[in-house]
């Protein structure tokens, strides 16, 4: 090496061989890229043993649902040693759907995933999702006739089945039996006496308030990405007979007069001190859990939080306040995210998995959800679950969002309108102002092209 001696003083030590090698290695890597070599994929989990079929399953179930799901997955694994099931729980809501969409776009999607049925229209069936093979499902013992027709049809687009429903999860009324008993609201058998009409419900709330000296009802009113107020509005508004969008999800159908009935009732609940004014989602759970209110309005899934404590409570359908006994809901469903090379053993395993989960959905129903698989709905084990089976009749009266690309759980519509109606509950918007703003935002959404084009956005079955 012709290294001048003068250098050795200034820069002690030549580069070690290792440094040079590392540098060369780096260059080689860059060179490999130049050749257009697709990078090595992130390491596949090592848990899949030799000869096992890899089955990746993504879902968004945390809390009590997460525990139930975990139990079912463990049971599935035990029964299917030949299938290497890798389950991932991603953050609920928009982040989950973003990841699922990006995975479909990136072509490395999991074999099977959970999806809210009302989001199907926006999830580009045929592009981000692959259709189910009904023959395979039948082979594993699951047939289309075994589901309520309405929600099964919601999973079909242009004659192909893209979603297989697992449950329906409506908004329900939780009530503290102790508080309600003191307020004289319980009938025979310790169940809440039926409340019929807006006035009867308000009177019941007043009766509770007299007992506790505090607001009688709690429901999520604010928070990041708040959607509780949208659920509440959707429920009350549907009871007046109104609908938000036309049946095909293409035009605005909001009825001003009916919407104002719902919004003014919401505004009254907080203005009269009948409902807690400023509370976020976990806060609302905590308030009801601590027995501070008699009533709690939310989806039935929160049952797990309360079963874990001593608090005496039960659940029932949301009372009929405005003429129809309907309530807002969505359905959890299974879908097959788009894979370039779907087929073979892993696709078979995905179908086997879906069928198995449906057949064992009594476990799932413990989390409060009403099973979509009709044989489960008649299963004595399900009927024995209380209070989970108390409100099962509600499945005939649930209202799902119209099939628009921007609708469904944690969709742009929910987040936009949730924020607007949050203002009605916290007092920062009048009902009129909220209605105007909601219509404006809905028009913007309707004016925005479906990013995946309209051709596939055909309406499935109407709201069940």
């Amino acid at each position: 090496m012709g290294r001048p001696s003068s250098l050795s003083r200034r820069a002690p030590g030549a580069p070690s061989r290792r440094n040079v090698l590392a540098g060369v290695g780096g260059l080689a890597a860059a060179g490999a890229l130049a050749g257009g070599v697709a990078g090595c994929a992130a390491p596949q989990a090592l848990s899949v043993g030799e000869g096992k079929t890899r089955l990746r399953y993504w879902h968004l179930f945390g809390g009590g649902d997460g525990i139930n799901m975990q139990g079912m997955l463990d049971a599935f694994r035990a029964e299917h040693p030949q299938i290497g099931l890798e389950a991932a729980t991603l953050q609920w809501g928009a982040p989950y759907y973003t990841k699922l969409g990006l995975a479909g776009a990136g072509g490395r999607a999991p074999e099977v995933a959970a999806l809210h049925l009302a989001r199907l229209a926006g999830f580009a069936p045929g592009r981000l999702l692959d259709p189910f093979d009904l023959g395979l499902l039948r082979e594993f013992g699951v047939r289309p006739e075994e589901f309520p027709e309405g929600i099964w049809k919601r999973g079909a687009i242009e004659g192909k089945q893209y979603a297989v429903p697992l449950d329906t999860h409506p908004m329900v009324l939780f009530y503290n039996t102790e508080v309600c008993r003191k307020a004289g609201l319980l009938g025979d058998g310790g169940k809440l006496r039926p409340l019929e009409g807006a006035r009867a419900f308000a009177d019941a709330l007043r009766a509770v308030k007299k007992v506790t000296g505090q607001p009688a009802l709690v429901t999520e009113t604010l928070g990041p990405g708040v959607i509780g107020p949208w659920r509440l509005f959707s429920t009350l508004y549907s009871q007046t007979g109104g609908r938000v969008l036309s049946e095909d999800g293409k035009t605005l159908a909001l009825d001003d007069a009916k919407a104002l009935v719902a919004l003014e009732y919401m505004s009254m609940l907080v203005a009269d001190g009948l409902a807690v004014k400023r509370v976020d989602y976990p806060g609302a759970v905590g308030v009801f859990n601590n027995g501070k209110t008699g009533f709690y309005l939310n989806g039935e899934w929160e049952i797990s939080s309360f079963l874990a404590t001593e608090m005496p409570f039960s659940m029932t359908r949301v009372p009929n306040l405005f003429g129809r006994a309907t309530t807002q809901a969505d359905c959890h469903a299974f879908v097959l995210p788009h894979q370039e090379d779907r087929g073979g053993e892993s696709n078979r395993a995905a179908h086997a998995f879906v069928a198995w989960m449906l057949k064992h959905s009594v476990e799932w129903a413990k989390g409060g959800h009403v099973p979509a698989y009709l044989p489960t709905l008649k299963d004595p084990a399900y009927l024995a679950l209380t209070p989970q089976s108390e409100y099962r009749t509600v499945v005939d009266d649930v209202v799902l969002d119209e099939p628009a690309w921007f609708a469904g759980s944690a969709s742009p519509m929910w987040i936009e309108l949730g924020a607007v109606f949050s203002g009605v509950l916290t007092g920062s918007r009048t009902p009129q102002n909220a209605l105007a703003e909601a219509k404006k935002r809905l028009r913007t959404l309707l004016d925005t092209r479906n990013p995946f084009g309209d051709s596939r956005n055909a309406a499935g079955g109407a709201s069940a």
């Binding site: 090496m1 012709g2 290294r3 001048p4 003068s6 250098l7 200034r10 820069a11 030590g13 030549a14 580069p15 440094n19 040079v20 590392a22 540098g23 290695g25 780096g26 260059l27 890597a29 860059a30 890229l33 257009g36 697709a38 990078g39 090595c40 994929a41 992130a42 390491p43 596949q44 989990a45 990746r56 179930f61 945390g62 809390g63 009590g64 997460g66 525990i67 799901m69 975990q70 890798e86 991932a88 729980t89 991603l90 953050q91 609920w92 982040p95 990841k99 699922l100 990006l102 995975a103 776009a105 990136g106 072509g107 490395r108 999607a109 999991p110 976990p282 797990s304 939080s305």
Partner: protein, 304 residues
């Protein structure tokens, strides 16, 4: 004429090192305890407490039994001190996998950044070829392009290249950093040509001169670039967040935010994950405080 840049660099280092040892840089003598200084000390200590409290609270929460994490009024220590939460998150979660991903991605990115940028800087500073000025101008202009602006087209490109959910998909967009080239060009321009010439006379080629003379000579600045790159890659959120969807391929910060426990809100476990995830760089910092401080002060000004 003052000392050449590369000499000056040493002076700066000497200064920074001097202060590391706590030597007074402004005056040479030992300070007196005037009332003013006592007030300053009190204020400084109070600010230290403010800065340490959030981390201390995270640690305290992680050591409590889950049932006591949200108690009011606040208690620093629960009924017992337990490491259950650490054990649970380490066993049930993907923390180990994410930590490996982060380490692999950060090391590869740092290595590639240093090698690519140093070579390019040397080429621009020390060689001449057709279009050199134009190309260097193009690279400098890139300093004004924040990578965040490119997320949408870059993601589309990754889909086309099939690099979504791969390590290279995370690494490659982070390695061509124009600001680093600029810093290194400035440095190489200050290296006396005589050093290289002597080697050329001895028959060494350009390639060998670069690896055996210029690179070793540039160790301090390369270390600064490497440290800065490593820290920013380890902590980068937005790009890995977009380009990894599979939990197995996520980096530490992305996994923490995107993957939730199936068991609902568990404060102690969440804080245990936070502590575990925050620890590696803090340990590295404690070990290499001097180098890191220098590297950040040196590169930070140009590297943002």
């Amino acid at each position: 004429m003052s000392a050449p840049v590369w000499e000056k660099d040493k002076q700066v280092r000497a200064k920074v090192r001097g202060t590391v040892k706590g030597e007074a840089a402004a005056t040479g003598r030992r300070p007196r305890w005037t009332p003013g200084r006592v007030v300053m000390l009190v204020v400084a200590l109070a600010l230290v407490v403010v800065w340490v409290l959030p981390i201390a609270w995270a640690v305290a929460t992680s050591l409590k039994p889950e049932g006591e994490t949200t108690k009011t009024p606040l208690e620093w220590i629960g009924s017992t001190i337990t490491f259950d939460a650490y054990q649970q998150v380490w066993e049930s979660g993907d923390l180990g996998q994410w930590m490996f991903n982060s380490a692999y991605i950060s090391v590869m990115t740092t290595l590639l950044t240093v090698v690519l940028c140093a070579m390019a800087a040397y080429g621009f500073a020390r060689t001449d070829f057709r279009g050199r000025k134009v190309l260097y101008g193009l690279v400098l202009a890139g300093i004004m392009v924040p990578p965040q602006v490119l997320i949408a087209p870059l993601f589309a490109e990754m889909v086309t290249l099939g690099l979504v959910d791969t390590y290279w998909g995370v690494i490659l967009p982070q390695v061509a950093v124009p600001a680093m080239v600029f810093i290194l060009v400035k440095f190489f321009e200050g290296v006396p040509r005589e050093l290289e010439e002597a080697a050329f006379v001895d028959g060494a080629g350009r390639w060998r001169v670069f690896w055996t003379i210029v690179m070793p000579l540039s160790r301090p600045i390369l270390a600064a670039v490497a440290i800065f790159t490593f820290i920013s890659t380890w902590n980068n959120f937005l790009w890995p967040f977009l380009v990894t969807t599979d939990p197995n391929g996520m980096t530490l910060p992305v996994g923490l935010v995107n993957v939730q426990s199936s068991y609902g809100v568990r404060y102690a476990q969440m804080m245990a994950s936070v502590v575990i995830a925050g620890l590696p760089l803090l340990v590295v910092f404690a070990a290499f405080q001097r180098q890191i401080v220098r590297g950040v002060a040196h590169t930070g000004l140009a590297g943002q």
